[in-house]
């Protein structure tokens, strides 16, 4: 926090208002990419841990350890030879959660990008009819030192674009017809560079993994909520297997655990979603920065974002259903409706996949 305050104070001269959150240094994109990678690895690890803890709690309630009551009230379980917290259903739940997460990740990683493209209705761009788009994509591939990705077009008025692909070498860049119609060549280039940035930085891979883990957590948490109620009942009413011998101590422990479980089950999906959105917003800043690095033309990026923002305000009501499913993938959020002054309302901070356009433009200006 203190670091950011200092950075903000130093920026006060040329930046209209302080920029919150981690800053991307003016020229050193390599370090920005490294920092972002570190952050997203931490978030992935945190989400996985959260999932495993949830799995543990669910398993613990479904299959309470047999030796809990037998061990007696004074055996707290945290210490001693019978470390029962590490045995029984909890361990099974955690293992199941880890295995399910792994399996789901593999499926999403191998099929996810093709699914996203077909949901969006993307088709291969014709090399003659869309010559300019093909040229621009190839130019940006050269700038990034990557092979030319597959080029696709989505037939909708909504101007937007997204990138898919789990490895930088085998990516796809899809733009909408509305985007090609509204933007100048330089602005189109900036948007393509932004998507190339997502590919080069490995964003789609991270976002797929994170989305998968978050999805799992949300599902398991809802199971956990019902289990928690069941667990509290069974613990309190003495339905547990050994409760007639163990006495009140074991029951009290179960009630406490059930309460903690309730709390975690309610908060975990919220926390997981917030982490996912935070990660998504960071990725957008980084892709903007990469786009400026590739094109060396910050004005084009600013112009493109501004145009897309205005256009999205017009088309948000008419956004196709598929737009919602892929909300986080687009270059600007297609669903934010118009605000009072014709500009779009500022996205609601913690639960937005994209930073406010003003913040993105501010950061690009700070780099220019």
């Amino acid at each position: 926090m203190a670091m950011n305050d200092v950075a903000a104070a130093e920026q006060a001269d040329d930046v209209p208002r302080p920029i919150e959150g981690p800053r991307i240094d003016r020229t050193d994109f390599a370090s920005a990419i490294r920092a972002n990678r570190r952050r997203s690895l931490m978030i992935c690890a945190g989400l996985t841990l959260l999932g495993v803890v949830l799995g543990y709690l669910v398993g613990f309630v479904i299959l309470p350890p047999d030796n809990l009551a037998a061990a007696g009230a004074e055996q707290t379980g945290w210490v001693g030879d019978d470390a029962w917290l590490l045995t029984g259903g909890g361990a099974v739940g955690a293992a199941v959660m880890a295995a399910a997460g792994g399996l789901w990740s593999v499926l999403a990683l191998t099929r996810g990008d093709r699914m996203a493209l077909s949901i969006a209705g993307a088709r291969d761009a014709d090399p003659v009819a869309h010559r300019r788009l093909h040229n621009v994509v190839e130019e940006m591939a050269l700038a990034a030192g990557l092979p030319k990705p597959r080029v696709m077009v989505i037939d909708t008025d909504m101007p937007n674009a997204f990138a898919a692909g789990l490895r930088p070498e085998r990516g796809t860049i899809a733009v909408t017809r509305g985007l090609m119609e509204r933007l100048s060549r330089d602005q189109l280039q900036a948007v393509v560079a932004h998507e190339m940035g997502h590919l080069a930085n490995g964003d789609s891979r991270y976002m797929v993994v994170v989305s998968v883990v978050v999805g799992l957590i949300v599902i398991v948490a809802s199971i956990a909520r019902s289990m928690a109620r069941f667990g509290a009942l069974s613990g309190g009413s003495g339905r547990g297997r050994g409760s007639d011998r163990g006495g009140g101590g074991g029951n009290a422990a179960l009630v406490v655990i059930a309460l903690v479980l309730m709390l975690v089950a309610f908060l975990a999906p919220l926390a997981a979603q917030m982490m996912k959105f935070a990660l998504s917003r960071q990725r957008e800043y980084l892709a903007d920065a990469t786009a400026v690095k590739l094109t060396r033309n910050p004005q084009a990026m600013i112009g493109a974002l501004d145009q897309l923002d205005r256009a999205a305000a017009e088309t948000s009501r008419a956004a196709p259903v598929s737009a919602r499913a892929l909300e986080a993938l687009w270059i600007v959020n297609p669903l934010d409706g118009p605000g009072e002054s014709g500009r779009r309302r500022r996205p609601a901070g913690l639960f937005s996949t994209h930073p406010a356009i003003e913040d993105r433009i501010d950061r690009i200006r700070a780099m220019a």
Binding site: R131, N135, E139, L142, G145
Partner: protein
């Protein structure tokens, strides 16, 4: 015990040396690949010129000297590049100069084409100007990536501790590609 620690340290050092060496080779190959990419795009430029000239020759009789300058510059660039592939530093810088001249000529030609709506609106010509503009962009971006690759390679060669491995195996820093300001700019198109 001490023996195992010593063996472990040696294995770790060897692993570090191997990965660093491979990283250096990979980056050096990246630099070479990036350089080859520039040649590919220059070839594309050379191939484009005859088509463009053929498309606008009749319509641009009044701009004959612009066309002739471009055709002559293309010839010089091609032969200078041929000499540079076998020659030394002098031939290479001559080839660079010839490409610079051709780039400037094409920039002028593009500006002239844009300035005459009746030429510009021809389907074939507008296609060619898009190709020309893309080619000029590609050359610029390929050079940009070449320099980025050199920077990443040079960083490894010069920074500690990878510079130790680089020194042992004779990795040397590469020189950046330098161009004057006029050429880095994508040819601007303005009506005159």
């Amino acid at each position: 015990m001490e023996v195992w620690i010593a063996i472990g340290a040696v294995v770790l050092l060897a692993l570090y040396a191997i990965t660093t060496y491979n990283g250096l080779v990979g980056r050096r190959n990246g630099v070479r690949n990036a350089f080859a990419q520039i040649s590919v795009q220059l070839k594309r430029r050379h191939d484009l010129v005859p088509n463009l000239v053929a498309a606008v020759r009749d319509a641009m009789a009044f701009e004959r000297e612009t066309l002739e300058a471009v055709v002559a510059a293309r010839g010089r660039a091609i032969s200078a590049n041929e000499r540079a592939t076998t020659g030394g530093a002098a031939e290479r810088s001559a080839a660079l100069a010839a490409e610079r001249e051709l780039g400037a000529g094409l920039g002028r030609l593009l500006a002239v084409v844009e300035a005459y709506p009746e030429i510009r609106s021809g389907a074939h010509v507008s296609e060619l100007t898009e190709e020309l503009r893309s080619t000029e962009n590609r050359i610029a971006f390929a050079r940009q990536h070449y320099n980025d690759s050199i920077q990443s390679y040079n960083d490894r060669v010069q920074m500690f501790p990878s510079n130790v491995i680089a020194g042992l195996f004779g990795f040397r820093t590469e020189a950046f590609f330098q161009v004057d300001e006029a050429e880095t700019a994508v040819p601007t198109v303005s009506l005159r």
